[in-house]
């Protein structure tokens, strides 16, 4: 799966996991910040996104600093999944 295909898959999974009812995949900029700006997510959403990575891609991150880096944007999430060969 290419990075762009993985990004599209992640967008759909994020919308479902966070119940973003009025948002379509096309509305999500893969390079925009997920938190505060962009989608305007918060700390509870961060937990849901970590669960998404664990449940769907078997990726567990213990280091809080690393978590923040991974959850910067949809693209950084996709790049982590690809770097671990979990796509």
């Amino acid at each position: 799966m290419s990075e762009e295909e993985l990004i599209e898959q992640l967008k759909t999974q994020i919308i479902e996991a966070l119940s973003l009812e009025d948002i379509t995949p096309a509305d999500i900029d893969p390079d925009a910040p997920l938190f505060v700006e962009g989608l305007g997510l918060d700390s509870i959403d961060a937990i849901e996104l970590m669960l998404l990575l664990e449940r769907n891609y078997n990726i567990h991150i213990d280091d809080p600093k690393k978590r923040r880096e991974v959850l910067t944007s949809v693209r950084t999430m996709a790049q982590l999944i690809q770097s671990q060969g979990k796509e």
Partner: protein, 354 residues
Amino acid sequence: MQAYINSTGIISPQQTYDGTFFAAPIVNTDSMILNAMEPVYKEIINPVLLRRMSHVIKMGLGASNLCLKAAEGIRPDAVVVGTGLACLYDLEKFLLSIDDYHEKMLSPIPFINSSHNTVSSQIAIMNKLTGYNITYCHRAISFESALMDSLMLIAENKADNVLAGGIDEFLHNYYTIFNLLSYWRKETISNLSLFEGSHPGSIPGEGAAFFLLGKEKNEKTLAKLTDVQTFVTKCDVSYLKNEIDNLLQRNGLERKDVDLFLLGRNGDNQHDGIYLDLEKILPETSCVAYFKHLCGEYMTASSFATWVAANILKTENIPDCLIKKAPAQSQIKRILIYNHYLEKEHGLILLEAK
């Protein structure tokens, strides 16, 4: 003890969320479930918070927000909620996820929503209400318990205004379990023909109704909440008669002083007998009306009845869709609501014109 109903907000199977009193056509459906007719929640609840709310929380916050909006700036000193089954759907979801994911990787949202007092807490958080906050989960007398607590808060000068409400949602698992006990009607009927013939089973419903109860009345006051009584026992009509007479006597009244008896008959011939027996001993001059063909059966259905009664007293009009026995006199000044659940939990609510 008494309080004035100074505003209401309700989401029910009828079009009531717009603040009108049965102005829209009455819902007549053979769907065998009376689901709530809901407003566009984004217009009354912050959309950012809305996406994490389950159905029962949306109904509760929606109805409470409508009530506070109608109160035009009066802020309650206390929030008191009654709910029979509370957030059981989210609790089931949370417990199932514990099993599905072997006690790991649990989503926080069903957990946040799973507590029985989530609605009253969310009302407080959203409206920055830092006072007394409580939820009564007393099965079918939950709403009456909430009203009693509210009346006591006002009587003891611990609050001038209390936001009190009743909420319950339709739950598939609850429906399935009670269907095994023939609690729901087997054959397809419309809700408006619920009282035709004699058959086992009723129709399930759901809803949320909130009331701003105040120590003082104002120009928006709908009615006066005079007294509330509950009892939990399997009883016959003579026991019920004594309970009604006790409630009326302590308010200086007799049965003949009640203009309208609003009864929670639900069309289930296994449990309707006590309502029919009661009707036989009511004064000739009293009007009798039913309400569960409009809202369905649920544990806090008496909150819908309270909204109906308050609006009858305000408008001085009983909609035809409610009347079982027409009033002998045109003015309705006093209404007694009687409701029971499986003949075990009984509630009496007395309301009067302001």
